[in-house]
């Protein structure tokens, strides 16, 4: 009995020594819970407020000012643009610069005073139903809140109607949002993990020494290593898209050719992250841990699981750096909104920039010798 205890202690001590030697693992054991605490505690907010809203007013005046004031008082809306035409309003919603367009029609004040219950049109970007549902619910209070002060007599019977138009996803189906998003999540996970393991495996098994001794240049090795994963990535895309179409009836309004091209930028960005990790990790376990360390914030801060606009500025700033954030906007934009290149370009160039930086780091860090 005592001898058994001694042996258990021997194994325990050995494990502790090994754990202490593997600094990265040790760091991850502490780092991941801290990261989760910070993200879940401070960054995530399922009830986003102050959503960017465009105002298309064809009836300027006191009532307009009352409505705007009521919208902003609700806490959910923040007027960021005043547009003069429907076309510009469309563009702002398509690119995702605003989540709402409030249209005050011609003669609104006149009709209101005549008691004809005019309609206030609110278009909501419903690609992510969770992000806008609370704001939409708050609109029920709008007429009362807008007119209580100036025209209290009218408040009893709702003086105007609020017509909410859920764009892109009229039924508010979560699958429309999640399934295209999954595409990005799956690709992030597999691309980074596979490439980081691919190079680390060479180091771990000792084949790297042989590879370095042969006349093959680092860039050639890296390119050769990632090409199979690009192909695998496209196979995954095909599988998810077919499932999205057949099982979830996700609309595909935009060009799949454009999506294929945008995917390449996203794949390259992720592959470079994987390669960079593989130049740091000393074994495959570390490569997996680093992948997880990147994957976790990608999932939580990109707008995949929680509304991007609900996060504080610092978390949004981190999110803007992550490739998944931009890819989600691209894929949702192309599939659900039917966006073309002009609308997605603001999300494509950050991906390309990220990929460029990550590839530079990966190539610079790749060992040319065993030093």
């Amino acid at each position: 009995m005592l001898a058994a205890l001694g042996r258990v202690i021997a194994v325990t001590l050995k494990e502790l020594i090994q754990l202490r030697r593997d600094r990265l693992t040790f760091g991850m054991i502490l780092g991941i819970p801290v990261m989760q605490l910070v993200i879940f505690g401070y960054a995530i907010n399922a009830d986003p407020k102050r959503l960017p809203t465009a105002l298309l007013s064809r009836d300027p005046g006191q009532i307009e000012r009352n409505i705007v004031g009521a919208l902003e008082r609700s806490g959910y809306f923040r007027i960021v643009a005043e547009v003069s035409g429907q076309r510009e309003a469309e563009r702002l919603v398509a690119t995702g610069e605003v989540a709402f367009v409030v249209t005050i029609p011609d003669g609104f004040t006149r009709d209101l005073l005549k008691g004809e219950r005019p309609r206030l049109l609110i278009e909501a970007d419903a690609t992510d139903p969770a992000a806008t549902s609370n704001a939409v619910a708050a609109l029920a209070q709008l007429p009362r809140s807008a007119l209580l002060h100036d025209l209290p007599d009218l408040v009893q019977a709702p003086p105007f109607e609020v017509l909410v138009h859920r764009r892109y996803n009229p039924e508010g189906l979560t699958a429309y949002n999640i399934v295209p998003g999954l595409l990005g999540v799956i690709l992030t996970m597999t691309m980074i993990l596979m490439t980081s393991l691919a190079v680390t495996r060479e180091t771990e098994r000792g084949t790297m020494e042989n590879l370095l001794a042969m006349p093959v240049k680092p860039a050639e090795v890296m390119l050769g290593k990632v090409l199979p994963y690009v192909a695998i990535g496209y196979v995954q895309v095909a599988v998810v898209l077919v499932a999205a179409r057949l099982l979830f009836q996700v609309p595909m309004l935009g060009s799949l050719g454009l999506l294929t091209l945008a995917l390449l930028a996203f794949l390259l960005a992720n592959l470079a992250v994987g390669l960079t990790f593989s130049t740091v990790a000393r074994n495959q376990l570390q490569a997996m841990q680093m992948t997880f360390f990147f994957f976790l914030p990608s999932m939580l801060l990109s707008g995949f699981m929680f509304p991007f606009r609900g996060m504080p500025d610092w978390a949004q700033a981190i999110g803007e750096v992550l490739p998944l954030t931009h890819f989600l906007r691209i894929v949702r934009g192309i599939l659900l909104k039917g966006n073309g290149l002009p609308e997605i370009w603001p999300e494509v160039w950050p991906l390309l920039a990220f990929a460029g930086v990550a590839w530079t780091v990966a190539i610079l860090r790749y060992r040319r010798t065993l030093d």
Partner: protein, 305 residues
Amino acid sequence: MTAPLAIDVEGLTKRFGPRTVVDGIALKVPAREVWGFLGPNGSGKTTTIRMLCGLLRPDAGRGTCLGLDIVNEAEAIKLQVGYMTQRFSFYEDLTVEENLSFVARLYGLPKRRRTVEETLERVGLAGRRAQLAGSLSGGWKQRLALAACMMHTPKLLLLDEPTAGVDPQARREFWEQIHALARDGVTVLVSTHYMDEAERCDRIAYIAYGKLLATGTVAEVIAGARLSTWVATGPGRDDVARTLAGVPGIGTAVFGPSLHVSSPDAEALRRAIQPVLGNPRLAWREAAPSLEDVFIHLISGAPRP
């Protein structure tokens, strides 16, 4: 006219942190010779070989391999040098043929299929072409590795302990191959721990604690040490070994039933063994020192870091 040098380096130095692993090594290996590279574990043999083929950047020193600068022309050297790593470093999850094919592609060999085919036939791996490299025995792995680093017909072969863990029969065949290659004009530098292999080399270089201690033919290295050696045979050899172990300047080594006692100072050696010469359980005779006696002497005399 002197023969061109396949390896010509001087002052070669490599430090890993505070440790100097290779310390100012100069090596001049003429083309077409087979050189044995000897020394205890951790003496810097692998590091030296890695610097020669561009895998490590020397901290000091300069030189050439096949006339190409080892620092600036490492890429060109890789095309003409075959390097066999100490640890098997081909892909265990590829078959024999797939491994060779991969190497042939990296070197851009013309007529790849035929080259691979010929290589398989020549080294006797044709029957195992479809076997995963990881499932080969040590001897076959070594053959595969040698075949792979020979396929691009290098002019210089750097072999890092190629016969470690290989059975005597395979070792003998391996050395026959090395000599056949040398006859064809290939220069070979092979590191080893085996004395019999050292004696198969044209010349040897002996390194300990990062310093080159001796070079030359086996006879030259032995003569250069100027050792006197006595051999004691008999059941009392262990007692004598213990008695002489602490005596400065004297090296002892047990070979089967015999004890070798050596020293560069013949007089001191005679004085040291005087008390035990009369031991009735031992027969003493003076003998020519062996290469191993010389190495034991060289290590014991080398300054330890």
